[in-house]
């Protein structure tokens, strides 16, 4: 168990950032998109992102929304760039392998919506790991 010498536990401060109006809306949006509990997503964000990135989440999500995506329907639906570059909750390599998986499924004839749902489940698994 590691303790703090100089720094304090930043979890309450980070939580305060995440529950302000716009951040809360965004976190709930992402949670419903990935179909995972809000608390779980909040905990993941608090553990993996630093405070300034948490503050900047709505602006980054907005930038992801306005950027014209040119890499296909599946990538947009899965949030390939959104969840790696704009809101960096997943490493690029992990996202790439999920994306390849989903694409493979689409090629074998599974409908896009179903394949994307499978991809989202994979993302959820990756976040829980």
């Amino acid at each position: 168990m590691s303790g703090y010498l100089y720094e304090k536990d930043l979890v309450p401060q980070k939580y305060r950032i995440l529950v302000s109006v716009r951040h809360d809306k965004l976190v709930r949006e992402i949670a419903s998109e990935l179909e995972m509990p809000v608390q779980e997503l909040r905990r993941y964000l608090i553990e993996h992102l630093d405070m300034i990135l948490l503050e900047n989440l709505p602006a980054r999500a907005e930038a992801a929304g306005t950027k014209l995506s040119d890499n296909g329907e599946v990538a947009t639906a899965l949030g390939k760039e959104k969840y790696t570059l704009f809101i960096p909750i997943l490493p690029v390599a992990a996202m790439d392998s999920i994306f390849r998986d989903v694409n493979e499924r689409v090629r074998t004839g599974i409908p896009v919506a179903e394949a994307v749902a499978y991809g989202r489940a994979q993302i959820r698994e990756a976040l829980r790991r």
Binding site: L10, S20, D50, I52
Partner: protein, 361 residues
């Protein structure tokens, strides 16, 4: 993404180069920076929580105190948002006076930012010149609004006090003096060989990275993105405003963009003084209920207020998105990475003009 590294160099919260407390944790490989994290929490006052449920007359003063450096623009954006909600018209003379106050504020803020940068790279002479020039701008701001900082100049439907003609003459005289000095100092910065060694090619923020982090203001304009909130503002459109940009993407470009913008501000104020319409400065009006999103161009970039008010003009919900949030984020996650030494880290951090009070509110 958080990683565990073997060398972690903390800077702050109290650091000789930072005006405000922030904790910058640099992950280093030798002396080369491979990543950085900013931990805040030293300035969190919860101003948005205080604002909730209070009447606009009170929130107006609270909004000003989100940031003491660029207080005029916070006042302006909040008041114009309330005007948009309750459709209060602004008399043309008041609209021009608002632009003058806002541009004077931008000048002093940019001069302070460039002073901080010069001070950080240890060019104290130029820093002191700029700080002295800033005092002259502060005098003009005080003559126009009645206070140096947090002047609460704008109110719904107009401004608080008029500018008599002799004050306008004094202002245009000082603008000439300030411009002459400023051209000399910006020339010193542009041509200084030692300054170029410390600034050129340091702290590169590419256009893609700037778009990803939603960088705004001079930080974005130094990376070749011509975004400026003043383009959509009606008074600035009357004045024929055209944004500036540079494509060097480094510390040097960011400081030079600020110098150029000060000169641009001077010409905007001159134009305002030239066609300053006659008439009343307060039109009056009643603040009503509604919901809006309103943006304005602060000295550091795009400032957005998300406001929801009730029928008596009380604030129900408010969220402020300040430019420093985006710029500091772009700075610590994109610019600093790859810096060759810790000395460059502080210089790069200051070049993005960070304002922690804005960021945490």
């Amino acid at each position: 993404m958080k990683r565990t590294v073997d060398v972690n160099i903390p800077l702050g919260p109290i650091h000789p180069c930072f005006k405000e407390p922030a904790r910058l944790k640099c992950e280093a490989k030798g002396e080369r920076i491979v990543g950085a994290e900013v931990e805040l929490g030293y300035m969190k006052k919860g101003i948005e929580r205080i604002m909730k449920g209070r009447p606009w007359q009170e929130v107006m003063f609270l909004a000003e105190r989100v940031c003491g450096i660029c207080s005029v623009i916070h006042n302006m954006v909040f008041i114009e948002a309330m005007e948009q909600i309750s459709s209060i018209p602004v008399p043309p003379r008041a609209a021009y006076l608002r632009v003058i106050a806002n541009e004077l504020d931008r000048m002093q803020s940019h001069l302070l930012a460039n002073f901080s940068y010069c001070y950080t790279i240890e060019h104290e002479t130029l820093g002191m010149y700029l700080l002295d020039l800033r005092e002259q701008v502060m005098d003009e701001l005080e003559r126009l609004t009645g206070a140096r900082v947090t002047c609460a100049y704008m109110i719904p439907g107009g401004v608080r006090c008029d500018m008599p003609r002799h004050n306008a003459e004094i202002l245009s005289g000082s603008l000439d003096r300030i411009e002459r000095d400023l051209r000399r100092y910006s020339g010193m910065f542009a041509d200084g060989p030692m300054i170029a060694l410390r600034s050129r090619g340091v702290g590169i923020l590419t256009k893609e990275a700037a778009q990803r982090a939603h960088a705004v203001g001079p930080t974005a304009r130094a990376s070749g993105i011509t975004t400026d909130g003043r383009l959509i503002h009606p008074t600035y459109r009357q004045l024929g405003f055209v944004p500036l940009s540079r494509t060097d993407c480094d510390n040097y470009a960011r400081v030079m963009v600020r110098f150029d913008e000060i000169i641009q501000s001077i010409s905007l104020i001159r134009k305002c003084l030239q066609d300053l319409p006659k008439g009343v400065i307060r039109g009056g009006g009643v603040c009503k209920g509604g919901e809006t999103r309103y943006s304005g161009e602060a000295p550091r970039g795009e400032l957005t207020y998300f406001i929801k008010s009730d029928e008596y003009g009380r604030i129900v919900d408010i969220q402020i998105q300040t430019p420093s949030i985006m710029n500091i984020e772009a700075c610590c996650h994109e610019m600093i990475i790859g810096a060759d030494s810790i000395a460059d880290v502080t210089a790069t951090f200051v070049s993005a003009d960070p304002c922690i009070a804005c960021t945490e509110r």
